[in-house]
């Protein structure tokens, strides 16, 4: 990996770990940003890990841009030798795929899409070589995902699927972004899935919707009472296809503030994952669904 450093004006340092997406690049970004946080460098105001890069915002009245750059390069060298392990959690995210709300929205913005004749799911399944929407949804839900970045808008997770490169789903974004996306839409763009935390503009293909809120600025939802944003980089997500009946049931639970997401602690090891991905992913599934 050839790490590239660039100043973003006089108060940001932008660091591209790798030009292309990979779990290695993500782990390195997470590891370096964790060390930056721990080293509590004076003048640093924002520490933002991203998919294959990271960004630091700082106050140049307190630390000189070039001094901070040297600090970050030093932390990069330390990160080379650290073991790629992560104490994290696995989260169950129920999804009503092919739901009526994203369907209504994608029909409304059809002229902005690559293939106006079908739906986003039809298109994504076809260009990724699946014979049906059903088998495409199965592939999307079967293997778990890493939250590799949180952002765009408040609390929106970008997720990268934990499968070999040749099994990665890839889709382009809409030709022109939509001005509307239903809240909690499960979307897809490039090699990333996402969950739209709020209603608004968006360019990702739309596959379904989850009943589980992931951002609550009022902090009324039981599991968002302590902090308004649910996801953090490094979380592992497992999607679970549900039917309309289950969706409605969960929605009722959310409305009466009785919904509790299923979450289990998990110690992730990148080496163990690489040695047998399918088996490792089954272990993640068992950790989530076992006792």
């Amino acid at each position: 990996m050839s790490v590239r450093y660039s100043f973003g004006g006089d108060d940001h340092i932008f660091v591209e770990i790798e030009e292309q997406m990979s779990l290695d690049a993500f782990f390195k970004s997470l590891s370096i940003t964790n060390s930056v946080r721990e080293s509590q460098i004076g003048g640093v105001t924002e520490i933002c890990p991203a998919n294959a890069s990271y960004q630091i915002k700082f106050n140049p009245d307190i630390i000189k841009p070039r001094d901070l750059l040297l600090e970050l390069k030093k932390l990069e060298q330390d990160a080379e030798s650290s073991k790629q392990q992560l104490k994290t959690r696995v989260v169950d995210v129920p999804v009503l795929y092919n739901d009526p709300w994203t369907h209504e929205t994608l029909m409304r913005f059809r002229e902005r899409h690559q293939d106006p004749s079908g739906t986003d799911l039809d298109y994504a399944a076809r260009i990724n070589g699946f014979d049906s929407i059903g088998s495409f949804i199965e592939a999307h839900a079967e293997s778990p995902w890493f939250v590799t970045m949180v952002g765009f808008v408040a609390g929106l997770p970008f997720m990268y699927q934990m499968v070999d490169r040749d099994r990665q789903i890839e889709v382009p974004k809409y030709l022109r972004p939509r001005t509307d996306t239903p809240k909690l839409t499960v979307g897809y763009g490039g090699c990333f899935s996402c969950i739209y935390s709020v209603r608004g503009a968006g360019g990702y293909q739309m596959f379904g919707i989850t009943p589980m809120p992931i951002y609550d600025p009022d902090q009324r939802i039981s599991y968002l009472r302590e902090f308004m944003v649910f996801f953090h980089p490094g979380d592992i997500v497992k999607f679970r296809p549900i039917d309309r009946e289950t969706y409605d049931e969960y929605l009722n639970q959310v409305e009466s503030n009785a919904y509790e997401p299923k979450i289990k602690d998990f110690d992730f090891s990148l080496d163990d994952f690489y040695s047998d991905r399918d088996q490792y992913n089954r272990n993640i599934g068992e950790a989530l669904n076992g006792d």
Binding site: S6, F7, G8, G9, D10, D11, H12, F14, E16, E18, E19, Q20, M21, S22, T33, T45, E46, I47, C48, P49, A50, N51, A52, S53, Y54, Q55, K57, P60, D61, P65, R66, M149, V150, G151, F152, V153, A154, G155, L156, F158, Y160, R165, Q168, E170, P172, K173, G189, G190, C191, F192, S197, V198, G200, Y215, P217, M228, V229, H232, P233
Partner: protein
């Protein structure tokens, strides 16, 4: 209660100096787009610089005061009136219970800052009272003001001076054409050399899509990219990158056609390449650009950016000294 909003203007929101520390979760810093004007408005009436005031864009609100208070209006040139009587911008003035504050049409700039004695009392969310409307966070119920809203202010023992003023040479609005200084960087190498130099030669115009999230520009040449095989995960358009963070002030150019400068309510990341970043001392100026204004981007290096920042700091310190 201290203030009743009779008319809310186009988009008037409670702002302060913002909410750093949560950008990694997609929650932007928010706060006044023109920080200097916000600070100066507070200083003029003896508030803390970080007290919450109002930011109004293009059109002022109409506000009825229910208690005696003090006000200062800074930023754009938009004459305030108290019960119809004109008052000066950048100058403190008293207002009595029952009186109404209103504004004339916008003459120059884009955003006014209204500081009110004691500061506006809305709940502090994640360390700030600033409104972030896209995330329905902060301010008054996470949104811009509406007619009928009522705002409280904090009681203050400070006795503001009537007629305190910021000298004209310390006020700052964009020229014509506006000059915005930029440090090339980030994904600058994606552009051909010729296209990169054209970007800085062209005259751009502020588009109508210009808000607290970002300012879009039109009218320059479409950018030309260095050819490459797109990296895995980036997407097929040459302007696509693997989704990354976006610095405040970074200039992204989707499909290479219309540059967008991200501002205080920035989307925190995404998949468009950025050619550089507006320097910190010129971010305030962007908040004062009107649609259709001619704008030139000027390339500078780190030394020039830091010296511009020091100049801005010195100006602010001068205002502090004058008003304390």
């Amino acid at each position: 209660m201290a203030i009743r909003i009779k008319e809310s203007g186009l988009a008037t929101s409670v702002q302060d100096l913002g909410r750093p520390g949560y950008y990694h979760l997609g929650i932007p810093i928010s706060g006044a787009m023109d920080r200097f004007a916000m600070r100066a408005a507070n200083l003029l009436i003896g508030n803390d610089e970080s007290d919450a005031g109002l930011e109004a864009v293009f059109m002022g609100p109409v506000m009825e005061f229910t208690e005696d208070s003090f006000v200062a209006v800074t930023g754009a040139e938009m004459q305030p009136r108290v019960d119809g009587e004109p008052r000066e911008t950048w100058t403190s003035f008293p207002i009595k219970a029952g009186q109404t504050l209103s504004f004339d049409f916008l003459k120059k700039g884009a955003r006014i800052y209204i500081a009110i004695k004691g500061g506006i009392d809305v709940p502090v969310v994640l360390g700030s009272r600033a409104t972030y409307a896209l995330g329905a966070l902060g301010g008054l119920d996470g949104r811009s003001l509406r007619p009928g809203d009522e705002l409280q202010t904090w009681a203050s023992v400070v006795k503001p001076v009537e007629g305190a003023t910021v000298p004209a040479d310390l006020r700052r609005l964009p020229g014509n054409p506006a000059q915005i200084r930029v440090m090339p960087g980030l994904y600058w190498h994606r552009l051909t050399e010729e296209s990169g130099s054209l970007f800085f030669r062209d005259i751009w115009k502020v588009a109508t899509e210009a808000d607290r999230i970002g300012y879009r520009f039109r009218g320059g040449n479409a950018l030309q990219f260095v050819e490459r095989k797109q990296p895995f995960g980036a997407g097929s358009d040459p302007s696509n990158i693997v989704d990354s963070c976006y610095p405040y002030g970074s200039i992204q150019v989707p499909s290479g056609t219309e540059p967008i400068v991200l501002h205080r309510d920035a989307v925190s990341g995404g998949g468009y390449f950025m050619l550089g970043t507006v320097i910190s001392s010129d971010m305030d100026l962007i908040g004062q650009l009107q649609p259709n204004m001619e704008t030139r981007f000027v390339a500078v290096n780190m030394e020039e950016a830091i010296s511009a920042r020091e100049q801005r700091n010195a100006n602010l310190n001068q205002v502090r000294k004058l008003l304390n």
